[in-house]
């Protein structure tokens, strides 16, 4: 028995206009769809599936229900392999993905698999990277910290919630590289891997580790209490409130941008028509008030790519991560 969530359609009168009823597509979606969350309940992918599933049924894009299936294992690898090998033509299947998926694909952590084996649909928001220090830290700006790293790469120790070589680690490296830290110094930057962002954060606030690398959604509590000094957010523009006081890395002269996007892929052999339907649906969904409410409630920031644009984005991101991982000697 798999954990499932069935959401009864509750149609709000005002949203009826947004439904797909009037649109003509060669592809008609099946009565119900399935969303694979490649992790246990309670995490980010699980959230993506359940919230998107709910809005899809609430707005009648899917007539029946969107069933969330949890398929943990190998950081998404089990679900990826399952999609590629067993569900390659399934047109009513979507799989939740994020930067963690591209990171693992880039580093060859899904053995024998690559990003071209599935079709990338689109993103529905992102969580942006931040670099922060404790309130008693000697660093008051990103520039100061970069100077220290340039002088001695081992002098600033970072704590983050992903494994070594994972996205939190990569954010530091992307930023350092953009700030002209020499390539041979990158592997010498010290990164402490914790099993979750909050664990890493406590270590930084407690003064045990110098700096925190993570996502903006993780820092609100300690930022509000004044225990954490956020040096930079890795986004193109300043984020909306309550994060509008955080300077971007860009305005400090370092063009480091690190969105941890939330999105989907569908099986590689799904028909072009069904793929177009999903891309279009994601585009429309992103504009609805219902989805905007979900984003506000859960601290998701605006970030939308879909279809060909998203596919190209994934390819570029994968390539960049590959280069970076080679720089630090994680892969050959």
């Amino acid at each position: 028995m798999l954990k499932t969530m069935s959401v009864k359609s509750v149609l709000i009168a005002g949203t009826a206009a947004l439904t797909v009823a009037g649109q003509a597509y060669a592809y008609e979606p099946a009565r119900s769809a399935e969303c694979i969350a490649p992790a246990n309940p309670g995490g980010g992918w699980d959230f993506t599936c359940r919230s998107v599933g709910k809005v899809l049924t609430d707005l009648d894009y899917i007539k029946g229900n969107v069933q969330t299936v949890n398929m943990p294992g190998a950081g998404g690898g089990v679900a990826f392999a399952h999609t590629v090998s067993k569900r390659a033509e399934d047109e009513s299947l979507i799989v939740a993905a994020s930067t963690a998926t591209t990171t693992r694909l880039a580093q060859g952590q899904f053995p024998g698999m690559n990003a071209d084996q599935v079709k990338w649909v689109g993103t529905l928001g992102a969580d942006y990277g931040v670099i922060a220090v404790g309130k008693d830290s000697e660093y008051t700006s990103l520039a100061q910290m970069i100077e220290a790293i340039k002088e001695n790469p081992g002098s600033v120790k970072f704590a983050g919630g992903s494994a070594s070589g994972g996205w939190d680690h990569l954010k530091v490296l992307i930023t350092a590289k953009e700030a002209q830290v020499a390539n041979e110094k990158l592997p010498k930057i010290r990164y402490l891997a914790y099993s979750g962002g909050s664990e890493a954060l406590v270590q930084v606030v407690g003064g045990h580790v110098d700096a925190f690398t993570g996502d903006v959604s993780e820092i609100k509590g300690f930022m509000d209490s004044g225990d954490l000094r956020v040096l930079a957010v890795l986004s193109e523009q300043r984020l909306p409130e309550p994060y509008d006081q955080i300077p971007t890395a860009l305005e400090q002269g370092v063009s480091s941008i690190a969105p941890n996007w939330r999105g989907f892929y569908v099986p590689g052999d799904a028909s072009q028509d069904s793929y177009d339907w999903w891309v279009n649906t994601v585009n429309e969904l992103y504009e609805t008030q219902e989805w905007k409410d979900v984003m506000t409630k859960n601290g998701l920031m605006p970030f939308h790519r879909s279809g060909a644009e998203f596919t190209e984005f994934v390819q570029n991101q994968t390539l960049n991560i590959q280069t970076l991982s080679k720089d630090i000697g994680l892969i050959r």
């Binding site: 499932t4 246990n40 309670g42 943990p72 294992g73 190998a74 899904f110 120790k157 494994a163 045990h208």
Partner: protein, 505 residues
């Protein structure tokens, strides 16, 4: 927000119809499992974890269900002790001393009622202690850096054998087995794969829930197959309950002392419920007027029962605040928490206050439910005791298989579960304890991570491990925890055994 306010919010969670239902189900199942000889609380919780998964419960509901099972198992342990002179688990051993003689005198109903009331008092006051102590301990959170955590985990391992552990060497073997299993998977600190053989299902390591269910529940099945124990226990007749207010007041002081001692020994990692019930009983014998200890004195039932239930709640303090379990059962609960994506430890109180306080409130509610269940309905539980295991074991196996399959939906996990079942059977045959295996799996990766982090922070200087007052203090307690049981453990165990033998002779 103040503690009281948070607790009130907790009650709002615990008193919702859904939570009440799970507390009730948990209490009944727990009592039943605790009452079956041989199935202790750790097994009880282990068997019911898959149930929580197969029902797809929310983290809060799962924890309420399992803490009620935990509390219920502590209550249930005394039923077979008193009626059959067979303790359901180790902590219930002391209850046999005066409980069974009372039953022999035709006062079985009184003995059961007395122990139910004492259990309630023990749990109630220890839960109050938990409410007071846990936030204080959680406040220490920020003081713990990698070096301090490493010392803390070393402490947990050092005290593993505990006061009542039989053979330190076997405990070490078991812990080492757990550590070995824990190395499978992608290493967090370096991103390197260890023992995964490019098999996707091994990338995230071996889920400890599979190990727990296999080791505890499935091995139980093998034992059952071996013994062909098809028949239920013999029916025991119960007399009509005659318990006056005066009788209750008579056992009050004993229960209160037991509750306090139990709570303290529960909080200390490694000491646990056995010590709680033992110390409570011996102290009671010493401070009370002569009485008829060993021959059916109600205070001799009340003290150890309050003690072991107090210890059960006390053991939740280090588990919730520091992520270090104080007993086997709390280790199983800890595994459950981690699997639900909840990071136990200092941050739990700040991140999921609704969950923590909901569970604490559920403990209060659960205990009240247990008291209400146990006094008037004791006859029902006694009847349930005589259900032949041949009906019970298939149900257990079914729940275990469905539950494990529902965690990841992979058949490989079922093979692993059976594998662990065989391993558990063999280990139990050669008397190697199972709890240290689980603790090794749970704490090993954390310990490794913190040691490596500490050394990265100090640029390879090992002296960081004793760099703060807190870590030195933790090392000192760890040393004491390792050495004291070797010195006093023998004496203590001999005493426990002697008092029990003295009775059966």
């Amino acid at each position: 927000m103040g503690t009281i306010e948070l607790l009130m919010q907790g009650f709002a969670v615990a008193l919702s119809p859904e939570s009440l239902m799970f507390a009730l189900i948990g209490a009944i199942l727990g009592t039943l499992i605790g009452a079956l000889p041989g199935l202790g609380p750790a097994n009880g919780v282990a068997i019911l974890i898959p149930l929580a998964f197969s029902l797809g419960l929310t983290p809060t509901s799962s924890l309420i269900l399992l803490t009620s099972v935990y509390a219920g198992a502590m209550y249930g342990g005394r039923i077979s002790s008193i009626l059959l002179n067979i303790p359901g688990d180790e902590p219930a051993m002391m209850t046999c001393l005066d409980g069974h003689p009372m039953a022999l005198k035709g006062k079985a109903a009184e003995a059961l009622a007395t122990s139910a009331i004492a259990s309630f008092i023990g749990s109630f006051f220890a839960t109050v202690g938990l409410v007071i102590l846990a936030p204080i301990l959680a406040g220490f959170a920020l003081k713990f850096g990698p070096a301090e955590y490493f010392a803390l985990f070393a402490l947990a391992f050092a005290t593993l054998g505990g006061i009542t552990g039989k053979n330190q060497f076997k405990t070490l073997i078991a812990a080492a087995l757990g550590l070995m299993i824990a190395t499978v998977g992608i290493d967090l600190s370096s991103g390197v794969q260890r023992y995964t053989y490019d098999h996707l299902h091994l990338f995230e390591g071996i889920d400890f829930l599979i190990a727990i269910v296999g080791l505890f529940a499935i091995s139980e099945l093998f034992f059952f197959l071996e013994q062909h124990a098809g028949d239920g226990l013999k029916q025991v007749a119960l007399n009509k309950l005659k318990l006056s207010m005066k009788d209750i007041l008579f056992i009050m002081p004993a229960s209160l002392r037991g509750a306090f001692l139990g709570f303290v020994s529960g909080v200390l990692p490694g000491a646990g419920a056995s010590l709680g019930s033992f110390v409570s009983y011996t102290l009671e014998k010493r401070v009370s007027d002569k009485g008829e200890f060993g021959k059916g004195d109600p205070r001799g039932v009340a003290a150890p029962e309050a003690g072991n239930n107090g210890a059960a709640s006390g053991a939740l303090v280090p588990m919730l605040t520091l992520g270090v379990p104080g007993s086997g059962t709390t280790a199983v609960l800890l595994a459950m928490l981690i699997s639900l994506n909840i990071n136990p430890g200092p941050m739990l109180f700040q991140q999921s206050p609704d969950l923590v306080w909901g569970v604490i409130a559920a403990l209060f509610v659960g205990n009240l439910v247990l008291l209400l269940l146990n006094v008037p309905m004791i006859g029902v539980f006694v009847k349930l005791l005589s259900i032949p295991p041949k009906y019970l074991m298939p149900i257990v196996t079914l729940i275990a298989s469905v539950g494990i399959y529902s965690i990841t939906g992979s058949t490989l996990d079922l093979y692993f579960m059976v594998g662990f079942g065989i391993m558990g059977y063999v280990l139990r045959k050669i008397e190697i304890p199972l709890v240290p295996v689980i603790l090794g799996m749970l704490l090993g990766p954390e310990m490794e991570k913190n040691l490596r982090h500490a050394l990265v922070l100090s640029d390879g200087d090992w002296s960081i491990l004793i760099g703060s007052g807190l870590s030195i203090g933790l090392w000192a307690v760890a040393a004491a925890g390792l050495i004291l049981p070797m010195v006093f453990g023998k004496v203590l165990r001999a005493k426990m055994k002697r008092s029990k033998d003295g009775l059966t002779d």
